[in-house]
Amino acid sequence: MNSSAQIAERPYYKNLSVSFSPHTRSSVSTERIMWTVVACLMPSLILSMFVFGLQTLIITAVSVISCVMTEAISQKLLKRPITIHDGSAVITGVLLAYVIPPGVPVWMPIPGAIMAIFITKIIMGGLGFNVFNPALMGRALLMASYPVAMTAGWVTPIRDLSLGRYINAGVDAVSTATPLYVLKHYGLSGLIDKFGSLSTMYFDFFFGFSPGCIGETSACVLLVGGLILLYKGYITWHIPVSVIVSTAFFTWIFGGETYFSGDPILAVLSGGIILGAFFMATDYVTSPNEKRGQLIFGAGIGALTVLIRLKGGYPEGVCYAILLMNPLVPALDQWFRPKRFSEGAL
């Protein structure tokens, strides 16, 4: 058979891609999502520098650098591809710093970063396979290992722009009490006394002029970041709304001296509810995929937060509430499957 002579063959193109369909892709990549989240978290850091001093910037920088370094070194040692460019270690670093009090020693995030990145994420299989939220596992380790620094490192908000005030001041020199601590031990009236009036208190909480962790105090700037993520479609409303509604609801029922007399606004604005609802509970890897599962997940976080705040040993409970709901995620994904197309058939 002399076939080849019959067909005028054309030379093959060089460097032509012959990959699988689809041949067009949405421009939203893992990197873009991660770095957008980092950008949405930045306003909180800027605000905290003015409220708690430059100390917060140093702690955040130490946290981010140690998270990225931990990821790079552990992936190198385990001979896995190094993925620090995807931004997920940076998010973990920022979030870890945000749930640490501003008055702690600057080396404090390092053991937390090793826990968060190496133990919680890399050993479990890397990005996409961790069961627990890495930043919160880092915080849980710090809470267990350095309880004094982690519960006494609160600083009084600065209102005169003296940014350098607390640098290397030492825990004892700066400590004050967090609102939730006051609320737990002195009641709502004790807390209002501290702020002057109820409206001043709401104002200070909303804009972030209250003692607390580095990135959690200002509901206002966190909401801006969270709403950008919602607008971009990177997160859906289901988890943040269910966390906030459930916290407000259970606080309203059980949070006061009698039933149905708690202060839901205070409960949502104080502590890490907004940060947790928009940036931690919505972590893709450690939250359910299906919308009904997400609603139950968020509601569970709210309920556990209120339980810990009211009955537990700690004044704040968002961190442990999320960590307790994380292992339920595979079960929620099993129970709630997306509706199949042909299920609607007659």
Partner: protein, 499 residues
């Protein structure tokens, strides 16, 4: 027999009153999943259909459709040898005979060169006046190599002429045999022989014909141009199909981004001198990918959902592509076989974009030469649309009956398609999948070597490879291919269990 289907009676009453398009300005839509990729139809949507001159050579695959390969016409085989000669050493594995080049035979344009016996298959016609060189294993975009008849042009540009005849007197059987003789297959991409699809058993209840003009794939505009330029032919074709099916109502669904096509077809329906008692409606649809999938367009227009694993006729509907309808009109009224089709040549990697009328079997190299060559930043050649098409590495592959477009894409248009990362469980694919499957979990299971357990994540038969999941995946994961692999693994596991 269930003689009525719930959920759509109001729609058809409203359509009869000419109202549906205006109901609260909400267009029919399918509720689950779907994506909005950049359309990029502006490159070609205003370009009229342009006839490309005959290429020097045609490559006609024996199998361009669902079913058995066409068989080479016996009169093309040399009488020097007995038929057994070809069965013994020159036979292709598919049963088609190979010819020696010494047996060159003269053919005219539109002449039958491949035929099908009483089984699922389609006839094949030469598009040019020329010589049959033989049957050779030729480069194929999917199969690697496949047997094809090679026809070389001799002499002049062919110009077969056809005159319209009155088809209304033909019986159903006569209409079907004309469609079969013309070798028409579904042009929406599936390539199922049209005569077999339309030959519905009499005990199946049908009430609606849907003509699919949504053309939801980005870039492609061939159906759009055919609708805009041959609306009367499509309406006549619709009437032919309605006559074959023995039903009276037909809805032509068109995505709302083709206002000129909608207008042209509406005018054609309004000015039709002989409506023959049929109700033909034009229904604009929401612009959303994949609206052109049969399941989605049926649900969108009639609210009926096809049960998994059953045909659309089980819910009383036949879906046919608008361009197929036009070729059916050509076959029946003009006796014109299906040997040429409109193909969208688009993308920024070619010197000139066009909606080209080309002979089936024309090689891409001839099209590229005709349109002035490729640009230097060409990065990918895709046969079909960008969502479901096949990338090819060579210009030697030919246009087949189901090729709706050839895209010459630059790096900028395709982005980074080389690497993919781990699943970050964002769940975007769950929101994008029109069939309610779980591509994320199927991908993770397949990567872990547990593809056989994937039936829990949705009936793998339901995936029609629309690519919506992979389009939205931020980690660039090849989810369509993972699902395809899972399907194979599930079938393997089932076979093992049976044995």
């Amino acid at each position: 027999m269930n003689q009525s289907f719930l959920g759509d009676s109001d729609l058809f009453t409203a359509l009869k009153d000419g109202k549906v398009k205006n109901i609260a300005n909400v267009l029919p839509d399918f509720p689950m999943g779907g994506i909005h990729p950049p359309e990029r139809k502006e490159l070609t949507e205003h370009l009229p259909i342009e006839v490309m001159p005959d290429p020097p050579q045609l490559t006609l695959f024996l199998k361009q459709h669902v079913g058995y390969p066409s068989e080479v016409m016996f009169n093309l085989i040399s009488e020097l040898h007995s038929p057994e000669y070809y069965l013994e050493d020159n036979i292709c594995k598919d049963g088609a005979c190979r010819l020696d080049t010494s047996e060159k035979k003269q053919v005219k344009a539109a002449e039958l060169i491949g035929t099908t016996k009483n089984k699922i298959g389609a006839s094949l016609h030469s598009g040019i006046d020329g010589i049959v060189d033989g049957v050779y294993d030729t480069i194929h975009p999917v199969l690697g190599k496949a047997p094809a008849i090679i026809v070389s042009k001799n002499g002049q540009q062919s110009s077969p002429s056809f005159t319209p005849k009155d088809w209304t007197k033909y019986s159903k059987e006569a209409l079907l045999s004309k469609i079969k003789a013309a070798g028409i297959v579904g042009l929406g991409g599936a390539g199922f022989p049209a005569d077999i699809k339309l030959n519905v058993k009499p005990n199946i209840f049908l009430d609606t014909l849907i003509l699919n003009g949504s053309e939801c794939e980005p870039y492609l505009t061939c159906d759009h141009r055919v609708m805009a330029e041959y609306p009367e032919d499509i309406i006549e074709g619709a009437k032919i199909i309605l006559k074959i099916l023995g039903i009276t109502r037909c809805v032509i669904g068109i995505e709302n981004n083709k206002p000129d096509a909608i207008k042209a077809l509406e005018d054609a329906v309004a000015n039709d001198p002989n409506k023959m008692g049929y109700d033909i409606f034009i229904q604009p649809l929401t612009v959303k990918y994949p609206h052109g999938s049969a399941d989605q367009i049926m649900q969108s227009i009639t609210d009926r959902i096809r049960p998994s694993g059953k045909r659309s006729s089980s819910i009383g509907i036949i879906v046919q592509n608008v361009y197929t309808t036009k070729t059916i009109y050509d076959a029946v009224a003009l006796d014109k076989p299906f040997y040429e089709r409109v193909v969208t040549i688009s993308g920024r990697g070619i010197a000139r974009q066009a909606n080209l009328m080309v002979k089936i079997g024309t090689r891409l190299s001839d099209i590229v030469d005709y349109l002035g060559g490729t640009t230097s930043d060409l990065a990918k050649i895709v046969i079909g649309g960008p969502m479901m098409g096949v990338a090819v590495s060579s210009l030697n592959v030919p246009i087949t009956k189901t090729t709706s477009g050839v895209l010459f894409l630059t790096r900028e248009e395709i982005g980074d398609d080389q690497k993919y990362g781990p699943c970050i469980r964002c769940g975007f694919c769950l929101d994008a999948c029109p069939m309610g499957l779980e591509p994320n979990n199927i991908g993770i299971y397949v990567e872990a070597g547990r593809g056989a357990e994937c039936e829990q994540f949705g009936f793998s038969d339901d995936c029609f490879q629309c690519g919506s999941c992979a389009y939205v995946c931020p980690a660039n994961r090849p989810l369509v291919q993972f699902i395809g692999l899972a399907r194979i693994k599930v079938e393997e596991a089932k076979k093992k269990e049976e044995n």
